[in-house]
């Protein structure tokens, strides 16, 4: 048991490190690692990934909330969509075949890798105020090098809709769906990029908790497997976040995005070949 725990723990540490560095999150790397490398059934893999997602996002959110980046009103409001989505996703997971889940996973992974490669922090034009966002008091400000910068929030209904999908994917696949959440806030709601990523992170824990309860009661969360995964991803992502803050890691990110793209293709292939 020591060897099994150590190997899974070390792999998870790398996955957490990689996930933090690419901004994809640890969960998205854990599932292909456990299924493709260790031959773990995808349902156990999803259960273990889900708890590691809660650990890393809550840990990171603690720092972002304190520094005033996350927009808590936007986050709370959109959590209505993500938690209901997560419930739907977890319910859907009970009816879909493992190979179908694997294929969906591969496609989402491919999108996430592409989005993380493409996404750059871009200058945002000042947006005019929006009626719904104003009523919901979402407009806020965030810290920049030149002090607090005000911003207006837009596109609440579209953002809400995309968030529901993010929740479904999170509940179905055991991931944080950070890439889809950022799409909703950055593209649809026109939030500043830094606010989008940190608010996404803030929401991931609650979204994952909504489906984790269902997975736990269905027996998808195995303690002996979840233990090294959760601890490994947590330590790895803390290390990755620290490195990200200090160094310029563009090349490294590019390489990792490519690796994740390959894993995604393999999951899709295996899904169609019926290997799950």
């Amino acid at each position: 048991m020591v060897e099994f725990t150590a190997v899974i723990g070390f792999g998870s540490l790398l996955a957490g490190f990689l996930g933090a560095l690419t901004g994809l999150g640890g969960g998205v790397v854990i599932v292909p690692m456990l299924t493709l490398l260790f031959g773990v059934d995808i349902r156990y893999a999803i259960g273990a990934a889900l708890v590691s997602v809660i650990a890393t996002s809550s840990g990171a959110a603690a720092a972002y909330v304190r520094d005033g980046y996350s927009n808590i009103r936007v986050g709370m409001f959109l959590e209505i969509a993500t938690t209901i989505g997560a419930l739907s996703g977890a319910a859907l997971a009970l009816y879909l075949k493992a190979s179908v889940i694997a294929i969906i996973f591969g496609v989402v992974l491919l999108y996430s890798a592409w989005a993380s490669y493409r996404h750059q922090e871009h200058a945002m034009d000042v947006q005019p105020p929006d009626r719904i966002a104003t009523w919901l008091r979402m407009d806020s400000a965030y810290p920049t090098a030149n002090g607090l910068k005000q911003y207006h929030v837009r596109g609440v209904p579209l953002g809400f809709g995309i968030m529901y999908i993010a929740g479904v994917l999170s509940g179905l696949l055991g991931i944080g769906s950070g890439a889809v959440k950022v799409l909703a806030m950055d593209q649809a709601m026109k939030l500043p990029f830094k606010v989008s990523t940190t608010t996404s992170n803030f929401m991931i824990g609650v979204t994952a908790a909504a489906s984790a309860g269902i997975y736990l009661s269905r027996g998808y969360i195995d303690p002996a497997l979840a233990m090294p995964v959760m601890l490994g991803v947590l330590v790895g992502s803390l290390g990755g976040a620290r490195l990200l803050a200090g160094a310029k890691v563009t090349t490294l990110r590019l390489v990792f995005s490519a690796v994740i793209g390959l894993l995604a293709v393999e999951m899709i292939y295996n899904g169609f070949a019926g290997k799950f």
């Binding site: 773990v40 603690a62 909330v65 009103r73 609650v206 908790a209 233990m227």
Partner: protein, 142 residues
């Protein structure tokens, strides 16, 4: 809550808005809550893991075929009972339950903070999210 604008023009909008220093305190408390929950959960999982690994030299079962966890590792009373008898896997599950409870506690905290701010729309939003989470955690535990 969150990062309310600090300029006087914005702070005057609406009634019951808090000043920036109260905001900061709420944010810091929330950060502390999240960090404490994760660290405590990780510590319990690590202790449970150490107990489990020490008692099981050989791998337990296979993960290649999905069987589902035995009932004592998937319900709250079962997990508490196993953890209380210092069973390694029971302790790990207790830590994981605490981890799942951390974001739930954060939502409950938000509801309280919004109520303090007299922001009833967001009190309702927080309570709704809390109800969805309660439904999820309660399902299958009956």
């Amino acid at each position: 809550m969150g990062n309310e604008p600090e300029t006087p023009k914005k702070a005057d909008v609406g009634k019951g808005h808090m000043d920036a220093s109260t905001d900061k305190r709420v944010d810091q408390l929330m950060g502390l809550l999240l960090r404490t929950g994760v660290l405590l959960a990780a510590a319990i999982v690590a202790i449970g893991g150490a107990v489990f690994v020490a008692r099981h030299a050989e791998p337990v079962g296979s993960y290649r075929v999905f069987q589902g966890e035995p009932v004592q590792y998937r319900t709250l009373p079962g997990i508490v009972r196993e953890a209380a008898s210092f069973n390694g896997r029971g302790l790990i599950q207790l830590g994981l339950l605490l981890l799942i409870a951390t974001p739930v506690a954060r939502v409950a905290f938000s509801a309280g903070a919004f109520a303090y701010e007299r922001d009833w729309v967001y009190v309702a939003v927080s309570l709704f999210v809390l109800a969805v989470l309660a439904y999820s955690l309660g399902s299958g535990h009956g």
